[in-house]
């Protein structure tokens, strides 16, 4: 088995560029110089390692992890599940996946969110889990509602779940958002549309997965996450600090 090497270069044409005028906040926050390309050293090939003792089993169940005893949050009960893979389609095991979202009414439990929709007393809106040995993860939650935001005067975010993933090296660190198949707001969203390639937007759209649904109980959506792949060091035997 060849030793894993450096990460594949990130495809910056697949990701959104820094400056995206229709997403107004990016205008004053986008660096204007090009980033300087660094070949991976130990600082980029390594990253934090987490274990099961960092989290609790209930952390991935947003229906229960903040609810009062005997209570449940309001909303459409859903499972979100999938694999974390790398660009070589290899599973990424034992990596931390964190999520956060608005409640079914589109309101966040955050002291800065002032949207008129009510806070759900039984919904925190965050969860976390570790992928298993096959890179598999799942969450149970309620489907987040759409919410308005100040961009244009009538901008609405499609229902979405924010997702944070680590991978094995700091260079794989990624935050993204999951959207739901069939939501008409996806096509209208300036944040979604920071992504130039429609196929990349498709990649952020979770698929209804009736086979994984629990009849009479919970609908499932499937969402695989792909992190940067790593070269195999077939012809490299220099020790380069990794």
């Amino acid at each position: 088995m060849p030793k894993p090497g450096k990460f594949y270069q990130r495809d910056r044409e697949w990701h959104p560029p820094a400056l995206t005028r229709d997403y107004k906040t990016s205008v004053t926050r986008a660096p204007q110089y090009s980033p300087i390309s660094l070949e991976n050293s130990a600082s980029e090939l390594t990253g934090p390692v987490f274990g099961q003792n960092d989290i609790d089993p209930i952390d991935n169940d947003l229906i229960r992890n903040y609810a009062q005893p005997g209570e449940m949050p309001i909303g459409e009960r859903i499972i979100v599940h999938g694999k974390v893979l790398d660009e070589n389609a290899r599973p990424v095991p034992n990596t931390l996946v964190e999520v956060w979202q608005a409640n079914a009414g589109g309101r966040y439990r955050h002291k800065k969110d002032t949207y008129i929709a009510p806070i759900d007393p039984n919904f925190g809106g965050c969860g976390r889990t570790m992928t298993d040995d096959d890179g598999y993860y799942y969450f149970r939650t309620v489907k987040p509602g759409a919410y308005p935001w100040r961009n244009w005067i009538n901008s609405w975010r499609p229902g979405h779940i924010h997702i944070s993933v680590f991978g094995t090296g700091f260079a794989q660190r990624l935050i993204t958002q999951l959207y739901f198949e069939g939501d008409p707001l996806i096509a209208k969203c300036p944040i979604v549309n920071t992504i130039p390639d429609p196929r990349a937007i498709e990649q952020l759209t979770a698929r209804l997965d009736l086979n994984a649904s629990i009849p009479l109980d919970t609908i499932a959506y499937k969402f695989d996450i792909v992190l940067r792949g790593r070269r195999s060091t077939l012809f490299e035997n220099r020790l380069e600090g990794n």
């Binding site: 130990a42 600082s43 609790d56 965050c126």
Partner: protein, 206 residues
């Protein structure tokens, strides 16, 4: 029929948004949910080396503080070893070298405490000066920004650092150097990050 390359594409990034704290630092969002939040203790109690405080602010293109930013810290220990199975060497029990830092919502000021990292072996056997890797996410940032913090009092090592020397424009290198200003017997380093404008911080595509 042509051969096909069957690599997958990396999942595209989206902004962390203004409510990133709910997911990554719920206490800051205003509620308590987990047994323990991750990333509060970077070095742990057993780490050798100088205890330091790092503070700063992230400034946008209008010169205003960015008050909803979240930073992640990744650093080696004082011996230059990362807490990772692929990095040869041992770290102290409880040393993770990773942390999460959020700003004061009113002022945009942030700070964290850690130990000063040692020099780390870089590519081709060239030693890298002590540095802390930073990853910056916020509303309006479409793909997390990577930068490095170097230390003012490591001038010789900084001058030889292979990454610092990749920066063609010498005057931009100083944007990566934290200035030392001790107070109350504590080593304090100041590192302001400018997203745009004159003295825009150097960001890396890692």
């Amino acid at each position: 029929m042509p051969q096909e390359l069957d690599y997958l594409k990396e999942t595209p990034s989206q902004t962390a948004g203004p409510y990133v704290h709910i997911g990554l630092a719920p206490g800051a969002a205003g509620f308590d949910i987990y047994r323990q939040e991750l990333g509060h203790d970077i070095a742990g109690p057993n780490a050798a080396g100088d205890r330091i405080r790092v503070e700063g602010i992230v400034i946008d293109g209008t010169g205003s503080p960015v008050k909803d930013v979240l930073l992640e810290v990744w650093q080696a220990n004082a011996a230059g070893i990362y807490a990772h199975p692929e990095h040869p060497g041992e770290v102290e029990d409880g040393f993770r070298g990773w942390g999460r830092v959020i700003t004061d919502f009113e002022t945009g000021e942030w700070a964290f405490e850690t130990i000063k990292p040692g020099p780390v072996m870089g590519r081709d056997g060239r030693m890298m000066a002590p540095h802390i890797n930073l990853w910056i996410v916020a509303r309006g940032i479409n793909l997390g920004l990577n930068t490095r913090l170097y230390f003012e009092d490591e001038a010789d090592a900084n001058a030889r650092d292979p990454v610092m020397n990749l920066i063609e424009w010498e005057r931009r290198r100083k944007t990566l150097i934290a200035t030392r200003s001790d107070s109350g017997g504590q080593q304090v380093y100041r590192f302001d990050i400018r997203l745009q404008g004159e003295d825009e911080t150097v960001f890396f595509d890692i």
